[in-house]
């Protein structure tokens, strides 16, 4: 044996490392243009989460704490609830129609980040599952 065989494939890690910025760019493009092209918060969030999973497939190290990801996901979920209450239900959008596009973009961004973080937490919990313990919720 000339050199040890490992599980990590050189081809996959190089190609996915090359693809990271394009995946991020596509994800944000799909999120931000969601209100007049196909796509939107959920689809873009899925692309952002697949960046996170690709990172695990290439380099399985637990260096991002999932409790922090989970906290951010909860924060964005709360903001998704707060934004319509502040902007939609008190008639602000109807009084100032130019805010409609901004409102839709804001909601798309919030939903995209919430979905991306949520799916990332799901995969993180699944990948680094060490049994039911005190940190398990």
């Amino acid at each position: 044996m000339s050199k040890p065989i490992t599980d990590e494939s050189q081809i996959i890690s190089v190609v996915i490392g090359f693809l990271y910025p394009f995946m991020l760019l596509l994800g944000f493009y799909v999120i931000i243009n969601g209100h007049y092209t196909p796509g939107g918060g959920f689809q873009g969030g899925g692309i952002l989460a697949s960046v996170f999973i690709a990172r695990y497939v290439v380099h399985p190290v637990e260096d991002i704490s999932d409790t922090r990801l989970h906290a951010f996901e909860r924060l964005f979920l709360a903001l998704i609830l707060v934004a319509p209450i502040l902007l939609l239900f008190n008639g602000l959008i109807y009084r100032y129609p130019f805010l409609q596009v901004h409102y839709l973009t804001l909601m798309d961004i919030l939903i995209g980040l919430q979905v991306g973080l949520g799916l990332a937490v799901v995969v993180d919990r699944f990948a680094f599952f060490k049994g039911v313990g005190p940190s398990w919720r």
Binding site: M1, P4, I5, D7, V30, P38, G39, G40, F42, Q43, G46, I47, A49, S50, I53, A54, Y56, V57, P60, L119, V123, F126, A127, F129
Partner: protein, 184 residues
């Protein structure tokens, strides 16, 4: 015309995914199937659905399956004994607690394999012929003999680890290669 081609290709890739012997290939076939489905949605003027199918079906689910394949690999170790009578609790506990078995466990855990130790009633040669067992341990009162296939690089690394450690420890672990007649 193009619709018919897409539908037939979807059926072909679905069958390939079911019948392929390697799970990794099945995952890739499923991703291609999903991409075809996305294209089919696009042909029927549903671009929103098409992009959701492409992202979920061929991106996220494929990566999730690859993660699952990476995460969970069971390495089955069969323990055979020379005694004719039944496997007793003290034999099981002595094998489980022996240093060599603990070393194999930590060696495998470091490579994300889960060691599953089974005590089998087959004799040594039958156990070696069984393709479900990755490693066969023959337990004696004094020593453990490890039988493994030379084709498995994990077993080769394990043997190397034991050989490097064997100087002066006298643990009584002996390594032997089985004939690689194990069917793939």
């Amino acid at each position: 015309m193009i619709e018919v081609i897409v539908v037939v290709a979807m059926a072909v890739f679905a069958l390939l995914a079911i019948h392929s012997r390697l799970l990794r290939n099945a995952v890739i076939y499923l991703a291609i199937f999903s991409l075809m489905a996305a294209f089919f949605f696009l042909l029927h003027a549903a671009p929103e659905l098409a992009i959701a199918e492409a992202v979920m079906g061929s991106g996220l689910v494929t990566l999730l399956y690859l993660t699952a394949l990476k995460r969970y690999k069971v390495f089955t170790i069969a323990v055979v004994t020379d005694f004719e009578y039944r496997i007793r609790d003290d034999l099981i506990s002595s094998v489980q607690r022996s240093d060599a078995v603990q070393d194999i466990r930590t060696f495998l855990a470091r490579r994300e394999r889960e060691a599953q130790i089974v005590f089998v009633r087959e004799n040594r040669d039958e156990a070696l012929r069984n393709p479900d067992y990755d490693l066969v341990l023959a337990a004696d009162d004094a020593s453990l003999v490890v039988y493994g296939s030379e084709d498995d690089y994990l077993v080769v690394e394990l043997e190397l680890m034991f050989r490097m450690r064997a100087f002066g420890s006298g643990m009584g672990v002996r390594f032997e290669w089985s004939e690689s007649e194990v069917a793939q």
